[in-house]
C-alpha cells in the first residue's frame, strides 16, 4: 500500500465520518473535506499523530453562501494533506490554529482582510495586507467584490 493510502486509512479508521471524503489526486497529494465541527480533531490528529508538522499556508474561498478554508499541511515525506472546511457567510467564525502553528498568524490575518473571516483567538496586532484606512465591509477576494467599489467609496470618478 502506498504511503498516501496508509495515511487515508489511518484517518478513516480514526474518524469514520471521513469515509468517502478523502481524495488522493496524485502521489503526495491528499485532499479532504470535513465539517467545521469535526475540523479541530481531524486537524490535531493530522498534526500530532500523522506528523504533518509544517503548515504551508491557508487558502480562503468564497463559495456563494459559505466561506471555505483549506489548510495545506506538509509531512517530512513530502506528502501534502489539504484539509478543507467551510462556514456560513452570515457568521464566518473559525478558531485560530496558532496554538499548533504560531506562524499561522499572518495567514489568518489574510483571511480576515481579504475574505472577511472572523478568527477567534487571533491576538491584537497589525492588519495584513490591506491598508489601515481600507473601507469597512469590503473584502476584495469575495466573488461579488469589484475594484470599482473602492473607487466609489473614495469618491473617484472615471472619465
Amino acid at each position: 500500500m502506498s504511503q498516501e493510502e496508509n495515511i487515508t486509512q489511518s484517518l478513516v479508521s480514526q474518524f469514520g465520518f471521513l469515509e468517502g471524503n478523502i481524495r488522493i489526486t496524485r502521489p503526495r497529494r491528499i485532499f479532504l473535506e470535513t465539517s467545521l465541527e469535526n475540523f479541530p480533531k481531524v486537524f490535531a490528529h493530522a498534526v500530532k499523530e500523522l506528523k504533518f508538522n509544517h503548515l504551508c499556508t491557508i487558502t480562503g474561498f468564497d463559495e456563494l453562501d459559505k466561506l471555505a478554508f483549506m489548510y495545506h499541511l506538509a509531512q517530512e515525506s513530502g506528502v501534502l494533506l489539504n484539509l478543507k472546511t467551510s462556514v456560513s457567510k452570515d457568521n464566518p467564525t473559525i478558531n485560530t490554529v496558532m496554538p499548533l502553528f504560531p506562524g499561522a498568524e499572518i495567514y489568518e490575518r489574510e483571511l480576515v482582510d481579504l475574505f472577511g473571516a472572523k478568527v477567534n483567538g487571533l491576538p491584537l496586532g497589525n492588519r495584513y495586507p490591506l491598508t489601515d484606512d481600507w473601507p469597512k465591509d469590503q473584502y476584495p477576494l469575495r466573488k461579488d467584490w469589484k475594484p470599482s467599489q473602492l473607487d466609489e467609496k473614495e469618491g473617484h470618478t472615471h472619465a
Binding site: C56, G60, A104, P140
Partner: protein, 411 residues
C-alpha cells in the same frame, strides 16, 4: 526598568535603508531592541484577484511578475498546478530546461544576496566582487531566454525556447568561471575574520524555533532543518538529478551565508547534470483547449525557500481561485524572534539575512546623447565618451593604461 525608558522608533515603510516598503516599529532601551512590530502589505497588488479575471495563459505572465528575482519560480510553480489539473505530462526536455533555468536563477539570486549581505555589514568590496561575477549568470540567462529577469520560458505544457548546442557550450564555460569564483567566496565566508565576527551569533534562530514558526529555505536549513522541496516533493527534473541539501548548525546569519554559498556549488552540479543528460524530444505537449474543473497545489524550492501555489479550476476560461504564498511571508515572522534582545545596528543584516524579495531593475540598452536625437550607441563609443569626460575633468588614465598594456603584452 520602567516602561517609559523604552523609546519607540518607526523604520519604514519609506526609508533609505530599506529596499522595499515594509514598516517596523522598534521599541528600544538604549540601543537594545526590546520589541518589534512588523507591518507588511505595502506592496500588495491584488494579483490573486487579478488572476481570476484572466485566462490561464495571461495569469501565467502575471504571476511571473510577482517577483523580479524569483520570476521563474512563481511562473513554474503556478504552471505546474495548472498542468496537473489539465492532466498534462510534460516532455522530459521541457522538464530539464525548466530545471536549468531554475538553477541559473538561484545562482543569480544567491550571488545578489551575498553582495547585499556584504553591503549591509559595510563590506562593499564583497558587493562589488559578487555583483560583477553575477553578470556572468545574468548574461547566460539573457542568452538562453532573451531576458535578465522575467524569462517567459514557460507555457502550459512545456517551454517556449530550446537550448542550442552553442548555448550549452556558453553555459558550461560560464559555470566553470562561477565555480572558481564561488570557491573563493566559500574561502572568504569561512575564513575572513571580519565576516565571521560580524555575522556569528547575530540573528539567532534555533532549530526548534524554525519548526515552530515554519521558516523555510536557507533560513531554515542554516538552523539544521533539512527541508528542501526539490528533494522532498520533487518537480521538473529534480527526481532524476543528484544533489545535496546543504544544512548548517550555526543558526545565525553566518550559517545562512555558509548555506547559500555552498548551495551555489550544488547548483553548478545540477546544471552540468541537466546539460549532460538533456533529453532529445519536443518542447511542448498538446494541452486541451479548456482546463477541466479541478484543483492542485504545487510547491517549488525558490532561492528564498518553499513557494506555494494553489490553483482551482471550474472548467471555465479563467481560474476560479489562485493562491500564492511566497517564501518571504513564511520567513518574516521569524525576524521578530531573530532580533529579540539584539542591537539596533544588527537590524539591516538580520532582515537581509532572510533575503526578503526586492525587484531587480532593468538595464539600460539605449542611451540618449545630450542634445541629439535618441540613438543606440556602441560600447566603444560609450567607453570613449567616458574617457573624454574624465579627461575633461582633469582625470587622465592614459599613462596608466599604457603601462598596463605593456605589462599585458609581456605576459
Amino acid at each position: 526598568m520602567h516602561n517609559s525608558d523604552r523609546f519607540k522608533i518607526p523604520l519604514g515603510p519609506q526609508h533609505p535603508a530599506l529596499k522595499e516598503p515594509e514598516g517596523f516599529s522598534i521599541a528600544l532601551m538604549g540601543e537594545k531592541i526590546m520589541g518589534l512590530d512588523i507591518r507588511l502589505g505595502y506592496n500588495h497588488r491584488g494579483i490573486e484577484k487579478a488572476c481570476e479575471e484572466r485566462n490561464y495563459l495571461q495569469a501565467l505572465y502575471l504571476v511571473e511578475r510577482v517577483c523580479g528575482i524569483c520570476s521563474h519560480a512563481h511562473a513554474t510553480c503556478f504552471i505546474q498546478a495548472v498542468e496537473e489539473i489539465a492532466g498534462v505530462q510534460l516532455p522530459r526536455r521541457a522538464q530539464y530546461i525548466r530545471t536549468l533555468i531554475a538553477e541559473l536563477e538561484r545562482i543569480h539570486s544567491h550571488l545578489l544576496w551575498l553582495g547585499v549581505a556584504g553591503h549591509e555589514i559595510g563590506f562593499d568590496t564583497l558587493l562589488m566582487y559578487t555583483w560583477r561575477d553575477r553578470e556572468i549568470v545574468m548574461d547566460l540567462l539573457a542568452l538562453v531566454t532573451g531576458n535578465r529577469v522575467n524569462y517567459g520560458m514557460n507555457t502550459i505544457g512545456g517551454v517556449r525556447r530550446d537550448i542550442s548546442p552553442e548555448d550549452i557550450a556558453e553555459i558550461l564555460k560560464g559555470v566553470d568561471i562561477l565555480e572558481e569564483r564561488t570557491k573563493y567566496y566559500i574561502e572568504v565566508a569561512t575564513q575572513e575574520t571580519s565576516i565571521i565576527q560580524r555575522l556569528s551569533g547575530v540573528g539567532v534562530l534555533t532549530k526548534e524555533e524554525v519548526l515552530r514558526l515554519d521558516a523555510v529555505g536557507p533560513t531554515g536549513r542554516a538552523s539544521g532543518v533539512s527541508r528542501d522541496v526539490r528533494r522532498d516533493d520533487p518537480y521538473a527534473a529534480y527526481g532524476e538529478i543528484k544533489f545535496n541539501v546543504i544544512t548548517d548548525d550555526h543558526c545565525d546569519v553566518y550559517g545562512r551565508t555558509v548555506v547559500r554559498v555552498k548551495e551555489l556549488m550544488e547548483s553548478y552540479s545540477i546544471i552540468r547534470q541537466c546539460l549532460k543528460n538533456l533529453p532529445e524530444g519536443p518542447l511542448t505537449v498538446k494541452v486541451p483547449r479548456k482546463i477541466p474543473a479541478g484543483e492542485a497545489i504545487s510547491r517549488y524550492e525558490a532561492p528564498r525557500g518553499e513557494d506555494v501555489h494553489y490553483v482551482k479550476s471550474n472548467g471555465g476560461e479563467k481560474p476560479e481561485r489562485v493562491k500564492i504564498r511566497a517564501p518571504t511571508l513564511a520567513n518574516i515572522q521569524a525576524v521578530k524572534q531573530m532580533l529579540k534582545d539584539r542591537y539596533l545596528a544588527d537590524m539591516p543584516i538580520v532582515v537581509a539575512a532572510i533575503d526578503p524579495c526586492f525587484s531587480c531593475t532593468d538595464r539600460v540598452i539605449s542611451i540618449a546623447e545630450p542634445k541629439k536625437d535618441n540613438r543606440v550607441i556602441s560600447w566603444e563609443t560609450l567607453r570613449n565618451y567616458g574617457i573624454d569626460w574624465y579627461t575633461a575633468h582633469g582625470i587622465d588614465f592614459t599613462e596608466l593604461n599604457n603601462k598596463f598594456r605593456k605589462k599585458l603584452e609581456r605576459v
